[in-house]
Amino acid sequence: MEFEVKDKLWNGSINIIISLDTDDSSIEYLLTVPRISYLPIYYESIAKYFKNFLEFTQPFWLEYNSIPIKWNQPVGLLYDHLHLPSTINSDPWKLDFKFGDYPDIIPFIYRYPDDTINYERSISENFFNQLKQSSFIVNGNSKAVMNLSKNDSEMLWNAIKDHDLNYYTTIEKKLTSTKMLRIPVKVFAQGKILHYPSDIDSTFESITKDFPNSQFHVHGISLNENIKILDLWKMFKYLDDFLYIVVY
């Protein structure tokens, strides 16, 4: 059962259409992205494709219903808190390709030697900082992540980029804590990211009680039962080791 769920979560994916409006037509780029993955991994291919049709400035960004996508969040989480609550029930998920005045989302600061933007480095740095944050909540420090060898860090990121569960599991084992202090949980409610560092024996109710008359989603799945947060975390945590709960 546990393996089955892990496998489903690893392979769960979202179909996305990215469209670029030009003067006379709309050009579409189609992709299937694992829920646990990150959009900037695909930014270079997206840019390469659209360059065939239009000259644009970089960095570009993606929008959903005129809301710029926070590229640092896992795709499944973005989908769950942006698209799931909306009444438009469309599959695939439709995003717009935008360029020009960069919106108030995290800037891309890493560049290649030729000064072009390194989208992948930006997301991998961001990912490791999130991982350090969750590790701090679990262990009281981030040593487990900081002490990963350069090789292991690269292997971990490549496993995420290439969607390779075997490699991922190998490195994940090195990060697993034998004695957890707290469980790293973040709640997305009303456009805000709330921290719920939870005790090991706490139950889902310790979070739901703060949001009366709301629905709770983990990986797109509606949850109502009062289960232990630790069990939820083990099963449903994202790759940065946070359990994300979407409330609406």
Partner: protein, 140 residues
């Protein structure tokens, strides 16, 4: 880098910031003497959530890493609704730099949209949120 390095300078920390700390522990009367980022930031941020009751504010402590300039005094009271983005803007303005790296507890870089009150809830030490800052990347 870990909390160990933090312990090393804990002595200098308490002597340096003692008067501020005492201030920040008292609510109300003495609050005018406590730094308020909110006020100094009024020109640069358009965030409407700026003036809230001082008693509801959280304490943050800035600590430079390496040769980066210190901010004196290092303790500020700030509205818990503010985000890391505002801290980045404040530090860049105050230190007159274009870019600054910040870390929580010498450990991880928080994202700009993280809410300070939420970070405080999770990572506070002795009722302070410790924000390390550096003009180069400190921890890879």
């Amino acid at each position: 880098m870990s909390l160990q390095s933090d312990d090393d300078d804990s002595n200098s920390r308490s002597s340096l910031g003692q008067s501020q700390e005492m201030n920040s522990d008292q609510n109300g009367d003495d609050s005018s003497r406590v730094n308020s980022i909110d006020q100094s930031m009024e020109q640069t941020t358009k965030d409407p959530i700026i003036n809230i009751n001082t008693t509801d504010k959280i304490t943050i402590r800035f600590k430079p890493i390496g040769s980066t300039s210190p901010i004196n005094p290092p303790i500020f009271k700030i509205s818990p609704d503010q985000t890391i983005s505002m801290i980045l803007k404040f530090l860049c303005k105050r230190l007159k730099v274009k870019f600054i790296y910040i870390y929580i507890l010498n450990s991880f870089q928080p994202n700009p949209d993280e809410i300070l009150g939420e970070l405080f809830k999770t990572f506070q030490v002795n009722n302070e949120l410790i924000i390390n800052y550096c003009n180069t990347m400190a921890f890879g």
